[in-house]
């Protein structure tokens, strides 16, 4: 299943609903382009909803890191929402789980922005 992304606004926060695979190639590029496009348009409060992401490789992990640092460097904030077990485990073993701000509840994620 290839990567699909859609965005929606909730109380000034952009939720990016992701599904499929974030892997080297199309998936990673879509993620990168979407986040950069949001930042260019001034949307600097971003939640990546990964609830439907069933696979991620090291390139996909790299894209999450890139999205996080790019957003932060532009004065924004990026949070992760609804990690699947596979993604959760990967972030744990790569020690990135504590680097990201990970939420289980969308309302709480939106509310957590400064």
């Amino acid at each position: 299943m290839s990567m699909k992304l859609s965005t929606r606004q909730v109380d000034g926060v952009t939720i990016v609903d992701c599904s499929g695979r974030i892997t080297l190639g199309e998936g990673s590029v879509m993620m990168r382009d979407t986040v950069r496009d949001l930042l260019t348009k001034g949307n600097k409060k971003i939640v990546l909803n990964l609830g439907e992401v069933n696979y991620i490789d090291s390139s996909g992990i790299g894209e999450l890191v890139s999205a996080f640092t790019t957003t932060k460097n532009q004065g924004g904030e990026l949070k992760l929402l609804h990690l699947t077990k596979k993604v959760h485990d990967l972030l744990q073993i790569t020690k990135l789980y504590t680097v990201f701000d990970v939420k289980d509840d969308e309302a709480a994620a939106v509310k957590a922005f400064k």
Binding site: T23, L24, G25, D57, S58, S59, I61, G62, E63, V65, S66, F68, T69, K86, L90, I93, T94, K95, L96, V99
Partner: protein, 190 residues
Amino acid sequence: MCVRSLTTPRFDRQTTASSFAGFRRALTGIPQDRCGFKQYLSAMEQSVSYTLDSTLDTVDHAEEKATRIATELGFGEDEVMQISMAVREGAVNAVLHGNAYAPDKKVILAFERTSEDLVITIRDEGKGINLSEIPNPLAPENLLKTSGRGIFLMRSFMDVVEIRPSQTGTEVKLIKHVHGPSAGGKEGSQ
């Protein structure tokens, strides 16, 4: 019974299907229940290999093959995921960092089932990597790097990972024990 199937087909749909069919035919009639698994493995040493182009499609196909073969050999769902991800990472390194997408350079992907292990070999035709230059992705200063986690993931998911670089390419051997630990790989010689 001892069945050995060694082929080196070019990687296209027809030959791939054909070679894998041979691999699968070798499995036919062998009980795959967990209890009889070791006996089944002992009876069937075999291998299959593929010569692949240096493209992104190769990465996806390598992963798919690993998933199918690991599943056919009776590994559990988590182990299948670990094996397929390790193969994907190895294929990414071979295609991108080894062969650098060069159309004249190939990636060799081989699966061998021995009495105790699934042994997967991925070989590229690049310039070879310098293992001492690979940073630790878990070091605090590297945590926010956007690349450099592939070998770490392979080592995390497989029981043994051997990396042999040379001036004519790099060979990565990934080993999963049939009844070994499911994660927390031990490092082999490099």
